[in-house]
């Protein structure tokens, strides 16, 4: 492992000398991803098999979609810690709704649509609630979402009686293809992930809302004096985060057909890590959607590679994950600073 990482880490330096205007902040995440792919292939050739790549991208979709929402919130200088718990709650409520409605709506598409609607509406409402508490309530986003994180998670524990909420199996049969099926050999979660990323990039780079998010994150007071409606934009960013959670839940539920107190555990940290690895500033003012996508894929790849190799003691998994994350960010930041 050390052997392969040495030539990789020197690569950005080489690139900078050859191309003086090479923007490491922009391309750093992609270089780190390439390095990780090489590492994975060296660890086990199976890594590059279409089946494995499809598995990894499909499972990245949940945290990836959530992380795209988080990119907006973080760019606007806030943070949302409640996304993992919200995903669990939305999944739980969605499952309960579908089970409860099946006597009237049957077990076909109608009941699934109802379940998805409930999940999305609940998530958007919860995101808006977070946003309003931050803007109208004038409370730090960290505290607001730390609070709602606890509230959402204990609500799902309460609803599930401490156990697991499971989707009735005929409904599951209807819903199952949303995770396991696909178009032209590409699974629906990957398609959804790509679509959300595309729309996210358009909104962040091409709309006034996207620019306002960056302006607020960079300096809220200046943004206010520039007659940007700061409260409204921030609340919208949180609502958008909620929507992303809703979409993630929509494709999460058909995978295992269940939700419990452990659903979505630590997703908030994974999403935030993906955003930061991707080059977005944690303090706000600068956001990168495609970087976030790469960050999310990298996090999933690290897990995958560790599972594909028996070379490292499983006790050290966390240490290796941590090291790779820090090195990836160090690589782009130190390059960007020197420039």
């Amino acid at each position: 492992m050390t052997q392969s990482s040495t030539p990789e880490s020197s690569q950005p330096g080489v690139g900078r000398r050859a191309l003086p205007s090479f923007d490491l902040k922009l391309y750093g995440p992609f270089l780190a991803l390439a390095a990780l792919v090489v590492l994975g292939t060296l660890a086990n050739p199976v890594f590059l098999s279409p089946g494995n790549i499809a598995n990894v991208l499909t499972r990245t979709a949940f945290t990836g979609i959530i992380a795209i929402g988080a990119t907006f919130v973080i760019t606007a200088g806030a943070i949302d810690l409640s996304v993992g718990s919200l995903a669990a709650l939305a999944a739980g409520v969605s499952i309960m709704t579908m089970n409860a409605l099946s006597p009237e709506l049957g077990t076909g598409v109608a009941v699934v649509v109802a379940g998805v609607l409930v999940a999305v509406l609940l998530s958007v409402a919860a995101g808006t609630f977070n946003g309003l508490l931050v803007t109208k309530g004038r409370i730090e986003a960290f505290i607001v979402t730390l609070g709602t994180m606890g509230i959402f998670r204990s609500l799902v524990t309460y609803l599930a009686d401490g156990g697991t909420l499971s989707l009735a199996s005929p409904i599951r049969t209807t819903y199952r293809p949303v995770y396991y099926g696909g178009l032209f050999g590409i699974s629906y979660p990957i398609i959804a992930f790509a679509a959300v990323a595309l729309v996210g990039a358009l909104i962040l780079y091409r709309t006034r809302f996207g620019r306002y998010c960056a302006a607020i994150g960079s300096n809220e007071e200046v943004a206010r004096y520039s007659s940007i409606r700061v409260d409204r934009i921030k609340t919208l960013a949180f609502a958008l985060q909620g929507l992303c959670v809703g979409i993630a839940v929509m494709i999460y539920v058909p995978r295992l057909g269940s939700a419990s107190a452990t659903t979505g555990l630590l997703w908030e940290l994974e999403a935030i890590a993906a955003v930061i690895i991707g080059g977005t500033m944690l303090k706000g003012g600068y956001g990168r959607i495609w970087g976030t996508v790469v960050g999310a894929v990298m996090l999933a790849l690290i897990d995958n590679i560790l599972n594909l190799t028996g070379a490292v003691s499983v006790y050290l998994n966390g240490a290796i994950q941590g090291t790779i994350i820090i090195v990836a960010v160090l690589l782009q930041r130190s390059g960007a600073a020197r420039r």
Partner: protein
């Protein structure tokens, strides 16, 4: 929540009424300290504890049970202090989060003259407890290995999904490995799946990508096993292998009962052991029945023949 409020109210009423007719029927207070329902098995634990609370309070009208759930070892130590000083318990039933950190807090309770029943995980100083209702983690690993040996004819390639790095997980895995020693059963890979369905799914997907031929999976836990089942189905490799979970979750027991070829058996590690411990303690407190020093909960092998005995459709676990 509602139940807890009702309970607090009942407790207040009890305290208020105590001076009036106390001597005729002395209230006996029992504190129960358990981990919060943060994963499936603990959810089952909480459900069984609440069922036992209802049943025992009905059976013994002068018995008051207070259940405290904690998120970690430190929180549980705080709970013990509250149970003694605020709720003034006469006896404690505790399922410790971890053995070492809770040994001294439980010793404090004991030194105040309370009756102590320890469940599942033992304390590092066994002289503290009056009664020990022991779960048997090494035996769980051993029984799983024995079944696997027999089913595989001592030969085959298996993968192991572990829980969360803890003493419990180590005991199970060590006993399992000890039991398959000397056979031709080869452990191809071993990874943590954190007693979690999603992680079980992910780890198994990767194992399936990595190993072209797997004869059996030891998932050690029913939540992990359910994730494993989905991954195996997705890969279309149901015919190739079988899965052994553990704990006794109703979904898994149902599969065993229905003779699912993918899940031919399950090994019990019943969360209901907390109810047994509460019962033993309550009976001793009120009827003054003598108690044994130790009760061992067996890690029973569940097969289609005996599965219906262990099926609790109403439990959330």
């Amino acid at each position: 929540m509602k139940m807890k409020l009702g309970f607090a109210a009942a407790l207040l009423a009890g305290i208020a009424l105590a001076p009036l007719g106390a001597s005729a029927q002395q209230k006996v207070r029992m504190g129960v300290s358990i981990p919060a329902a943060t994963h499936g098995w603990a959810g089952g634990l909480n459900w069984h504890a609440q069922q036992a609370e209802k049943q025992l309070e009905k059976q013994y009208p002068n018995l008051d049970i207070r259940i405290a759930t904690a998120k970690d070892a430190a929180g549980q130590a705080n709970d013990l202090e509250d149970l003694v000083s605020v709720h003034n318990i006469d006896a404690l039933v505790i399922l410790p989060f971890e053995s070492a950190p809770l040994t001294d807090p439980v010793r404090e309770v004991k030194n105040k003259g309370k009756f102590v029943t320890v469940v599942d995980r033992g304390l590092t100083d066994p002289s503290i407890q009056n009664v020990y209702v022991a779960g048997n983690n090494p035996q769980m690993g051993k029984v799983s290995a024995q079944y696997m040996k027999q089913k595989l004819n001592n030969k085959g390639n298996i993968v192991v999904l572990r829980g969360i790095p803890t003493v419990i997980d180590n005991q199970r895995v060590d006993a399992f490995m000890e039991e398959i020693k000397g056979t031709d059963i080869k452990v191809l890979g071993m990874q943590y799946a954190n007693w979690n369905r999603d992680d079980g799914f992910k780890v198994m997907q990767d194992f399936l990508a990595r190993f072209p031929k797997i004869d059996a999976v030891w998932a050690q836990d029913d939540d992990i096993a359910l994730g494993v089942i989905e991954a195996v189905k997705q890969a279309g490799r149901e015919k190739e292998l079988f899965i052994i979970g553990g704990a006794g979750m109703k979904d898994m027991i149902k599969r065993v009962m229905d003779r699912d070829v993918l899940v031919p058996a399950d090994v019990l590690y019943p969360p209901g052991m907390i109810a047994d411990a509460m019962q033993i303690t309550a009976k001793h407190l009120i009827e003054k029945t003598p108690v044994q020093k130790e009760y061992v909960i067996e890690a029973t092998l569940v097969t289609p023949e005996n599965a219906s005995k262990y099926y609790y459709p109403d439990s959330p676990f």
